[in-house]
């Protein structure tokens, strides 16, 4: 009887040995996506009740905690800049010459009418350092074989306690991510398309972000150009550069 159980256990464990661990996959993803710095120009397509709008911006990011965004189009938004340093977010609007910190209720508002809220913008942790991952299965997405990864937050205070990732088995890049509330309700969904080779990494050139609680088609981010690991002057990530 004991032998039988042992056999069963070994039998069940076989597939686990044949796949990388969740931790390994996360590391691979981070390696792929978390360039030291990123500079990109992005087109954001927001669909709403009155049709869709396109907003263009350029963004500079370093690590997880520093990001700077400058809107370039349309004329109305041109010159608006956002700076994120750790858990603080400032906005500069050229017409008012004011720097405003976004706090309180404002954080719950959507960014430029997209499905992304300021809160969502604030939240961007490197996955491997904040989450424990386990592989829960496999699936096929966009004709690519994927691992399904379940991520559970290591510490309290992460915006999303549970995430589910569909990771391309070959290229180690997520093709879909779902964010869940603490009690398991699906809140946000991100789908990544046009995976392209950039400076030796695989990178999604189109991302569709959707707030699952709202009606609508979600917001598309189309990366027009991207440069990784360029040195960004430290002055960019300071309030002085907002003005």
């Amino acid at each position: 009887m004991r032998t039988f159980l042992t056999l069963i256990t070994i039998f069940l464990m076989v597939p686990l040995f044949s796949q990388p661990s969740g931790k390994e996959i996360l590391n691979l993803i981070d390696k792929n996506l978390s360039a030291k710095t990123q500079i990109m120009t992005v087109k954001m397509v927001i669909s709403g009740a009155r049709g869709s709008r396109t907003i263009e911006f350029k963004s500079w990011a370093e690590g997880e905690e520093k990001a700077f965004t400058e809107y370039t189009n349309p004329a109305r938004e041109k010159g608006t800049k956002m700076l994120k340093l750790e858990d603080k977010l400032w906005i500069f609007s050229p017409s008012t010459d004011r720097i405003i910190q976004i706090t309180g209720q404002m954080l719950r508002q959507s960014v430029m009418g997209s499905d992304l809220s300021y809160e969502d913008m604030m939240e961007d942790p490197g996955l491997s350092s904040h989450y424990n991952a386990s592989v829960t299965g496999s699936d096929t997405l966009q004709n690519r074989k994927c691992w399904i990864l379940q991520l559970n937050a290591v510490n309290k205070g992460e915006a999303y306690e549970v995430r589910k990732l569909w990771v391309d088995q070959e290229r180690s890049i997520p093709l879909k991510e779902e964010l869940f509330g603490k009690s398991g309700k699906l809140l946000k969904r991100t789908q990544l398309y046009n995976i392209t080779r950039i400076q030796g990494r695989w990178y999604p050139m189109k991302v569709v972000y959707k707030d699952m609680l709202k009606t609508g088609d979600g917001t598309q981010f189309i990366i027009e150009s991207i440069k990784l690991d360029e040195i960004i002057p430290a002055t960019i990530f300071s309030k002085a550069s907002l003005k």
């Binding site: 009740a49 009155r50 907003i55 608006t80 017409s95 004011r98 404002m106 430029m112 009418g113």
Partner: protein, 425 residues
């Protein structure tokens, strides 16, 4: 004959003065009370109209569904076209555009960084075009606590409590952060030119009033607004007319099934005002009825006095062979004359007083803790069409009935006893 009677009335001041004064006084009070009730209750309704509901309001169908959240993204577009259609089809109504919106107001410190911040409800109206009449409509001069009304672009009014809470002083530069009609972010600077108090704490907690041109710029609403308000020329809500207007407009736009198609609603469809209108109609009706009743009693008395005072005269006339019917009729004719002239005098006096109170208002704010826009403390009468004739009903009717009743005595008198009665004279 009439000439003769009038001459008599004019010469014998006893015969005409007291009844005339009583009729005139009673009629005056009736007129005054009617205009007063219409004024005070109507004012309350009209304040609602002016501040938020209009007599009628044009909005989009989608906006109507979630009006309590004042969603700017469901606003009307192409408002110039809608406005010109409204002005063409309903020229007697004043049409004004309004934008109600929400956002954050941010006060910077000397370094330009956020010192304090708070959410507010904004109202954008057409200030700068004085033809719109919006500043008067909102009673802005009255509710202004400090400073002055905006004189040019970029100036706003902030509710006093809100300003105090954020630490805003006059002429401070403040920043508005909010969402445009398309959901984009908008940030703009304004100068606080004055502070206001509505006297309703729900509004005073956080309100901003600005010119619609500023709001359009900020909210990316060129040729758009979320509400077009219609006010009729009598400045007094007329339910029947509003209903007629609504039906006509909505029939014209029936085919348009787009969720952004314009649709008209009435004052009574908003803020639970239907109940207040029904009550007002009821109360005006009841009070007018009671007054007519009361006044009839008073004037009947006056008629009796008149009849009794002339007991001797009537006796003499009968003794001299005048027919009872003739005496009776001539007395009724006289009373008719008194009723008409008393009603004319009373109505004129009542209307004059009402007019004075309509223009100047009766300031009872001393009796109230704080006078405000919605409870202005200054009460006004309102002269409606009915005020012109309502006094005549009790004025003439009551005098006539009074005389008729008191005159019955004439028929009871017996010629045989007349001389005995007259001996006393």
């Amino acid at each position: 004959m009439i000439k003769f009677l009038i001459k008599g009335l004019l010469r014998d001041s006893h015969r005409s003065r007291l009844p005339l004064i009583v009729v005139a006084l009673g009629v005056m009070l009736t007129v005054l009370l009617t205009t007063w009730i219409n004024g005070v209750l109507g004012d309350s309704i009209n304040m609602n109209a002016k501040l938020s509901t209009g007599h009628v309001k044009v909005i989009t169908k989608a906006y109507r569904e979630s009006m309590d959240q004042i969603p700017v993204d469901l606003s009307l577009t192409g408002t110039q076209e809608i406005l010109s259609e409204l002005r063409r089809d309903y020229p007697s109504v004043s049409w004004v555009e309004r934008i109600e919106f929400g956002g954050l107001l941010d006060l910077p410190d000397s370094a330009g960084e956020t010192k304090s911040q708070g959410p507010f409800a904004g109202l954008a109206v057409n200030f700068f075009d004085s033809r719109s009449g919006e500043a008067e409509r909102l009673n802005l001069n009255k509710i202004l606590i400090e400073g002055q009304l905006p004189r040019g672009p970029g100036e706003i009014l902030v509710s006093h409590t809100f300003a105090k809470k954020l630490g805003i002083s006059l002429l401070d530069k403040v920043t508005f952060i909010g969402s445009t009609m398309f959901g984009g972010m908008t940030i703009s600077n304004y100068t606080v030119s004055g502070t206001i108090s509505y006297g309703i704490s729900a509004l005073d907690r956080g309100s901003v009033i600005m010119d619609i041109s500023d709001a359009r710029k900020a909210l990316d609403m060129e040729d758009a607004c979320n509400e077009i308000l219609g006010f009729n020329d009598i400045d007094y809500y007329d339910d029947a007319k509003a209903t007629e207007l609504m039906t006509s407009f909505n029939n014209n736009h029936q085919a348009d099934n787009n969720e952004f198609a314009p649709v008209m609603i009435r004052l009574r469809d908003q803020n639970d005002l239907g109940g207040m209108i029904d009550l007002m109609d009821g109360v005006v009706g009841i009070i007018s009825f009671v007054f007519i009743l009361v006044l009839s009693v008073v004037l009947w008395n006056a008629g009796l006095v008149g009849g009794l005072r002339r007991y001797g005269e009537v006796g003499l006339r009968l003794a001299m062979g005048e027919e009872k019917g003739h005496v009776y009729r001539s007395m009724i004719a006289e009373s008719l004359f008194i009723g008409i002239s008393g009603s004319i005098i009373g109505s004129a006096a009542g209307l004059a007083l009402s007019y004075l109170l309509q223009q100047k208002g009766l300031d009872l704010s001393g009796a109230m803790q704080n006078a405000t826009m919605l409870m202005p403390g200054v009460f006004r009468t309102r002269i409606t069409t009915e005020a012109y004739y309502i006094g005549f009903i009790p004025g003439i009717l009551a005098t006539l009935i009074g005389t008729m009743l008191s005159g019955i005595g004439i028929y009871r008198r017996q010629t045989a006893r007349l001389f005995k009665e007259l001996q006393l004279q």
